[in-house]
Symmetry: C2
Amino acid sequence: MPKSSGFKQVHRVSEALGILFEKHQFIPEPEDIATEASFNRIIANDIRSSVNLPGFIRSAMDGFAIIASETHGASETTPIPFKIFGTIDIGDQKTPKLSSMTVMRISTGAPLPKGADAVLKLEDCEIVDSNTIEVVLPLTKWKNVAQADEDIKVGDLLFEAGHLMRPYDIGLLEAAAINQIRVMRKPRISILSTGSELIPSGHIPKIGQVVDSNRPAINAWLTEFNVELVKSKQHGDNLEELTRVILEMASEVDLIITTGGTSVGTRDYLPQIIQEIGEYWVHGVAIRPGKPITIGHIRNDAKRTTIVALPGYPLAAFLNFNLFVVPLLEKWTKQVGSWKQKTIVTLGQKVPSVEGMRDFVRLKRDGETVKILRITGAGILSSLTNADYLLEIPEDNEGYPEGAEVEVIILRPENE
Amino acid sequence: MPKSSGFKQVHRVSEALGILFEKHQFIPEPEDIATEASFNRIIANDIRSSVNLPGFIRSAMDGFAIIASETHGASETTPIPFKIFGTIDIGDQKTPKLSSMTVMRISTGAPLPKGADAVLKLEDCEIVDSNTIEVVLPLTKWKNVAQADEDIKVGDLLFEAGHLMRPYDIGLLEAAAINQIRVMRKPRISILSTGSELIPSGHIPKIGQVVDSNRPAINAWLTEFNVELVKSKQHGDNLEELTRVILEMASEVDLIITTGGTSVGTRDYLPQIIQEIGEYWVHGVAIRPGKPITIGHIRNDAKRTTIVALPGYPLAAFLNFNLFVVPLLEKWTKQVGSWKQKTIVTLGQKVPSVEGMRDFVRLKRDGETVKILRITGAGILSSLTNADYLLEIPEDNEGYPEGAEVEVIILRPENE
């Protein structure tokens, strides 16, 4: 057993998440935007209609506008003849008056002529000649007709504050002539990758060097959510410089995500910086791989900016991003992140796990069962990119025997 | 029974989808883009690594670099003392030689000093004083050390052609110094809403008028997929003008989506236009609401551009968009659209359905069960925006009795 982990208190995942959800601050102000740009935005105020929709009495069918009472008594054996008198099309803004014992051709959605109170479907009548039809069944009043307020009435509550806008919600608001709405502003996020070993994209690493690769991956991952990426930067392991950059970011955003420098090594400055200009709530979480995550806030006048300091090793960084950043963004944006599709697989080998740790095991399909891809190495990113499934083993579980059926996250669909 | 539906042949949903998937053309050329911009893009060629990763032998732990053979025989009762001789940090590009019976402090990820072949974890040793540690257990060679090619070897296949890029895949490629990749170009799409009754966003409709509201909703819905929206326009019911616009769009895109003008009314020009400058494969699908959809292609030199002409009534337009456009985009982009989250609910009332039609019933939570929100009216968009669930009733089913447990699409999460 380890004598000293270097961490004061290693939290369980559920504890760390509980602390993050209890202590974080997020106070978004509302802003006005075009309705057409509001997909996946959260409505700030209740929205009511100031119009009736469709707004006028219209035909719900292609057919003939008619006076319902004049069809009474019609049947297959006693058809009633009507004269055809013109056509009303969609978009017609003047509606003539319908005379007795006449009909007008009418399209679905076209306004009813004055006097008409029903629409005879094309398939429910006999066309005798180009001027005459025969009605063979009686119509009730308002048959096949949409009332002026059938869809929406003036004053109807269209959406409540807090509603997440979907595509067809945009359609409804536009139809009701509401083309500007008040929504909560997007969460603002900045990203800082730390490490003197980091070199820019496209350079082949020399001894001791690593490409700054977590940052573009996290930049991309954030695009799954409706958030505003304010800054994305890289800095070396310099205490003063990192402190200055983090303070500057804290004044601009709701969440700072950093990578690297979270462990207990000589240049692991993040926990120290957070404690100096704020407070960390969590340092070290019992997950494998990925223990050295730090979560807390940066003080910045009255505001407290949440900071999630991810480990620098890519696999650990991404697992922790999914465990802690994704739930926070889901709460803030009401959207759903990836790694949500699950399935049941059969283990083709024993999968051991350490009690007290949450284990993340990468699995690969192997015929009808799945096998462990690779179990060690927080740095082994290829074990994630090559995996088909991710198995999350809870803390109070020592693993699964061969043949066990377990629920896993689908990382790569079977038909890819 | 209807005497004449006005449609030559009404297809079932599965038939119509089968025809669409069999007859559509999509021939995307590859293009080169920055790796950091490749999230949710499809890789065009196999990608192999030209480097080893991490690229150098490095420590997998915070601790002391050591010569493994010198720890043999160490135990709690016979500790072996080592002198501490300096520090190696992450990012150090010169690695000194380790002398016999000495150790160097080393951080996770730092390059191993020459001669060292293991790392002693901080928690596995006793710090005697600032210059001396005692080792209390023997180490095997390469313990806690990551080999230069541990993650990736030169020549390793990183991703196969056809792979859909995920955020951590970007991380892996960037780490391997591959910051430019070849991907399939995005599907190109144009949208045309048709109808002389349509007025621009923000205007209150007068008699006979309707706001052009389907188009912004579909524009938004398309952003769920990695597609390029080339044009989004509105035109009146003018045969020549619509033909000209559709021909122009066909020369630029892979898919044209139109709304309106698909039925059998006097100004329903879409089926006629498609047949004149291409061919329709489907006109009329047995779904309720939403029958008058037209699917086909437009001829354009050698290329055939798929066209999906949606009904103009919003609810019918969106149901058909989900039934026919979403599966096509999922096939082309390998992404997954919305309306995929499902659950089981108990019906609080009988839900009837017509055999031979696929019914889409909007449901609302009502205590422990769900009730029908509204069953008629292809134009009643509010029945979709107000619904909690959507129940899809297959053709060979006459509905469900009260108390039935049915699987439904979640339109609005319970906790919203």
